[in-house]
Amino acid sequence: MSEEFILRALAAGIGVALLSAPLGCFVVWRRMAYFGEALAHSALLGVALGVLLGLAPTLGIVAACMAVALLLFGLQRRSDLATDTLLGILSHAALASGLVALSFMQDVRVDLFGYLFGDLLAVGRTDLAWIGAALGVVLLALLRLWRPLLAVTVHADLAAAEGLPVERIRLAFMLLIAVATAAAMKVVGVLLVTSLLVIPAATARRFARNPEQMALIAALLGVLAVVFGLGASLRWDTPSGPSIVVAAALLFALSLPLGLAFARAPR
């Protein structure tokens, strides 16, 4: 029995690491780390929404993330405020209203710490199925979106002038981030979701010569962080989500001197 829950945790963590890595590369390339954060913070509101409507939390989270993404889209067009200010407002407003909404639901037992920081060791069969589905959706969508999304990332107007449906591609990307957030929440929690997107991708940069290499290396690093983090969590009884993030951060720190040597090496 103890074997099984460890294996489930490992599978869930690896699944989330694999789907976060390629998306995280785009988050880093498009300078959208704070956008990812704002979406993640709105996930708690999604949980409340799910409980209220009797839906699966995952669906509630995807809905809340999309709502916040669309709100940001609208505000960017109409407001004089800079995007980082708008994100600061949205992100914390979403987190705070999520906490407030959950506090009204006395009758539902909500594991707040688990939502905020993840509870990998409590992953059940249903959670694993959701993560598997999310992984499939993200990878299939990215297979089709990879080239156009890369073109839009390099220069949106140029991509539009060359006939790509830029707005639709952007929207699809945001939807994928929402799906990733919902999946990653169980593993590292609302407050740490962005770290799985950003840290492995940033670590991979120094070792990659093209976009695909960067995504693959990020995936490998993400899996390593999950394995080390989960191992440490079991060994020293530390919280699993934060342990995984610490492992990812350590890999990043380790990559700095290694990356320098790599950059200097003749190709």
Partner: protein, 250 residues
């Protein structure tokens, strides 16, 4: 279409961005094989007009006409590629269309940077990047090149060489060119028609006639206008990217 030779035309284009009237009843047309240069002070609406013609912005009123099946090669004002994105020149060329390695090398040779095919885009100099982007535009066999300040980031000695490159490409491919520029004196020599824009079309015509137009003089001042006379000399030699005198091209 006004004329069978016209590649693209805008009629009475009006556009507001926020509260600012950026374009006010602007008319413009580019014919096949013609080089048309848009000049005007900062904020005159030059890039906005270009984006209207490309369909990236919708005008409030007015119409844009394109020759059916028109292929456009576009060079935006700035294409900043973040160093965090590992991307080599070959991948940049093929972001939105497929091209064989030979085709990629071919267009880069035409713009004089074939050696950069495997270079990382974020490590290119301003002038190298502009050449690569120009080569990228050629990959689509364009009938019309739309170049928004193509010599931005090109060092001064390389600028006139860059304009001569554009003129050569026009000759070889027979494409029309619509170009936005600040380099008045450099552009005047290599252009068929100049349109001076300041929300509306101040004046338009051959370079020589625009140069003497009172509205043009009022916009740019007599000193800049007088400088043109100095720079309107005939070139008997060319400069390469580093500024050294180069062998004349065929």
């Amino acid at each position: 279409m006004v004329d069978a030779r016209t590649l693209i035309a805008g009629h009475r284009l009006t556009l507001r961005l926020g509260r600012h009237l950026v374009l006010n009843g602007v008319g413009i047309a580019v014919d096949a094989g013609q080089i048309v240069t848009l000049i005007g002070p900062n904020g005159a609406g030059k890039s906005t007009l270009v984006k209207c013609l490309l369909g990236l912005l919708q005008p409030e009123s007015g119409t844009v006409e394109r020759q059916p099946g028109l292929r456009i090669g576009y060079l935006p004002q700035r294409v900043p590629v973040d160093p965090v994105l590992p991307l080599d020149v070959g991948r940049l060329l093929t972001l939105t269309r497929r091209a064989s390695a030979a085709e990629q090398r071919g267009v880069l040779e035409e713009v004089g940077v074939a050696h950069l095919l495997r270079a990382q885009v974020s490590e290119l100099s301003g002038g190298e990047l502009q050449r690569v982007l120009l080569g990228r535009a050629l990959l689509g066999h364009p009938d019309l090149l739309v170049l928004d300040e193509p010599t931005q980031g090109v060092d001064f000695s390389g600028q006139s060489e860059f304009y001569r490159l554009i003129a050569r490409l026009r000759e070889r491919h027979g494409c029309g060119v619509l170009m936005v520029s600040h380099d008045l004196h450099l552009v005047m020599a290599a252009t068929d028609r100049v349109i001076c824009l300041n929300q509306h079309v101040c004046c338009a015509g051959e370079p020589e006639s625009v140069r003497q137009h009172p509205e043009y003089l009022a916009l740019f001042g007599p000193r800049v206008a007088a400088n043109l006379a100095v720079y309107a000399h005939h070139h008997d030699h060319a400069h390469d990217l580093s500024g050294a005198v180069a062998e004349p091209h065929e």
